[in-house]
Subunit: 404 residues, 2 copies
DNA sequence: GGCAGTTTGTTCTTGCGCGGCACAAACAGG
DNA sequence: CCTGTTTGTGCCGCGCAAGAACAAACTGCC
């Protein structure tokens, strides 16, 4: 007993520097066993063992002594690594046009508990954020698990480093609301431990897809999505979100994709925003948008149930062509190695994948030689999971300090 | 004597990990003294001293024991750090439409020796690169200094990771020429020690400006330049060139900047390429481009000597407006914290800086709140210096290994 | 000129993270 | 049951850097 404790002490004091990278490997599913961890970290088995033991001692991961399923290869089977199901969680929150919601998310991007969506969103950010944090705090109390931080996804560009919402979309918040500070304050007031972070929803969706979804393994990942009105973009470079020097990067909505197109409030014509969002789809298909459900839902319904209608089909093809034009422009500038589409763009793409791929390849320089892989997003609630990623980041960077 | 040698040994074996960062600080002029180095590295004085001593022992920098000029502050003056003037150099080479040339470049971006420009550029890359390497080798022999690598700047996008020239501009090389391999081979054959690198000239100019020129201190630096025909772009993110996943990033020439504009070979109209290059300027000013000197020289001459002519002035303003439109589009996507212009764009900007600044601020989202600083490039031969940076990079990353 | 105060350089000790090695453990196959 | 292979563990030592104590070089004041 005593000897075991002593050896544990020894282990605990080793491998501090590699702790973060090791946890990130387990977190993103790239280190299923200790042997793989050893190889991925490029360290000795002794160091990897010490690191894994310390992460286990911190309650973050589990090291199975007996490998459940024997690996097909010969030699001694390696210990299986997994996220500790009883480990800490983070509070993830999202505000969007249809309401707001809170969830608890563990390591590995696993949603542990979700509160029902609340609607509508009041005009006062402080009130809404207070309610969503309260919902999260209730989930936390019920779960009895430790909380190490909180993340919030908002449908607005955020000025960096202030964290004020520049253009809240589909919610009646005033532009310039200090959402980052307000959220942090509400989190603190609710007695939730750990730091609080706020990010743009499309950026966070991209981050989540990169770590746990359709973007895994991509070096330069471009995400483009349209929800209700307008188009959002995000870029993950070498595993890190690129938000630009003041948080305004990837404002892709005003790329010109149709010189003769619809007028846009920006003063130009044929912007991606007004040519490829759900409203543009409905108008192109000759439908009158109704007020009862969201434009996105109406568009989805149209695409699903009336795709036989030539007008709908033609409208879809038109939007795909415009979207392809915009993506090609982005490809020429950013040269990503993968593109992920969200919202209506994902559905349009799914309806005719080859058309979009062809347009992008045709309009981008040297697109013929290869072509960028295009995929639909693969995660449910990816903005929520992305918000959780923000909160997990300090733990991934330095577990010892973050959990101290 | 013996004691001194022993203490030197001790110093030499310390501070290995911080060696690269320290050299980079001196290289980029951010560590003029040992005290500043200590602060920038965030280490103790002892460690910084050991690092500086080892870099001096490697022949890379010099540590002046007596500070030349007393600093205005009180306390003991710190030892001055400088690049060792007798230290190693790298071979830098550049090929462009008007010829090719070789130079020797030391640390700190200082050009040590330059061979005269040779013209014209033959159609065979192997021949041209053989000649330019031979010119560099001659410089090396004459200088008697140690060479630790070679870098080449070419006017073409390079496919990564192959290093083949995709679209050689203004030189009669076949598309797809394996310039990186050919250059490396010629360098090896000439008996030049150290690895050989090849990059796009605009990218390398951006890198040089970031480290030694108008881009110093910028986090996200965007460079746009026009030489003879077409427009090139480059992006430095957190000190590293962003070339995209296959080397094709920042192909900015086909951004639409004038929907009703001139037709472009890409099939579209009003591309940045055909609207803002020297040919566009001459045509807009109503001048017939002559064959005797380059389009860039004709444009510069026109701008310098006939700026009183209303037609020239109007043409300049038109180009600035188009360029501003393109830059605004890039700002919306990349959100850089500084923009540097090269070639004719620099001259047009210098002729009326406020006009371009106003257009960019007006056309970019939230441009009013701040506005991106725009500057002309500040370095002579920035592509050449950038090519040298490529060759220095291994030394900056790990001096001990690179010089072994 | 002398003295206090400040900043920097140097030496020595200490700690600790990790590589390397030897050995034990767990599997497959003959 | 033995061999070969792969993985986990305990132990040693090395290299890197922090910290403390001291020396050195300069400013400003008396």
């Amino acid at each position: 007993m005593n000897g075991k404790a002593t050896s544990n002490r020894t282990k605990l004091e080793r491998g501090r520097g590699a702790l973060g990278p090791a946890l990130e490997l387990v977190h993103t599913g790239r280190a299923p066993t200790r042997a793989v961890l050893t190889a991925e970290l490029g360290v000795t088995r002794a160091t990897a063992g010490a690191v894994a033991a310390e992460l286990e001692a911190l309650g973050l991961i589990r090291v199975d002594s007996r490998p459940a399923a024997a690996a097909g290869s010969q030699g001694r089977p390696s210990h299986r690594l997994s996220i500790d199901e009883a480990g800490p969680v983070v509070l993830a929150a999202q505000v969007h046009g249809d309401g707001f919601r809170a969830a608890l998310v563990g390591l590995g991007g696993r949603t542990v508990a979700t509160a029902p969506t609340c609607a509508p969103v009041a005009a006062d950010p402080a009130q809404v954020l207070g309610e969503v944090v309260a919902a999260g705090a209730a989930l936390l109390r019920r779960s009895g698990r430790r909380c190490v931080g909180a993340g919030l996804a908002v449908p607005s560009a955020l000025a960096e480093p202030e964290g004020t919402a520049l253009n809240p979309l589909h919610i009646a918040w005033p532009a310039g609301s200090p959402v980052r500070d307000v959220f942090a304050e509400r989190v603190r007031d609710a007695g939730i431990t750990g730091p609080a972070f706020t990010g743009n929803d499309v950026n966070l969706a991209a981050l989540a897809e990169h770590r746990h979804g359709a973007g895994r393994g991509a070096r330069h990942l471009l995400c483009v999505a349209t929800g209700h009105r307008g188009v959002g973009g995000a870029l993950v470079l070498d595993g890190r979100l690129h938000t630009g020097s003041s948080g305004l990067a990837l404002e892709v909505g005003h790329l010109t994709v149709s010189p003769e197109g619809r007028p846009c409030h920006c003063g130009s014509r044929g912007c991606l925003d007004v040519e490829t969002d759900p409203l543009a789809f409905l108008l192109s298909a000759g439908r009158e948008p109704g007020p009862e459900v969201s434009l996105l839902q109406q568009s989805r319904e149209l695409l699903r149930s009336e795709y036989d209608d030539p007008a709908v089909r033609r409208a879809g093809a038109e939007l795909v062509d415009r979207l392809g034009q915009g993506l090609a422009g982005l490809v020429n500038i950013l040269n990503p190695d993968r593109i992920i589409l969200g919202g209506l763009h994902r559905e349009l793409f799914a309806a005719d994948p080859e058309r979009l791929r062809a347009v992008v390849a045709d309009r981008s320089l040297w697109g013929r030689s290869g072509g960028v892989p295009i995929l639909g997003c693969a995660l449910d609630h990816n903005s929520l999971v992305g918000a959780a990623e923000l909160a997990w980041q300090p733990v991934l960077d330095d577990p010892l300090t973050a959990l101290a």
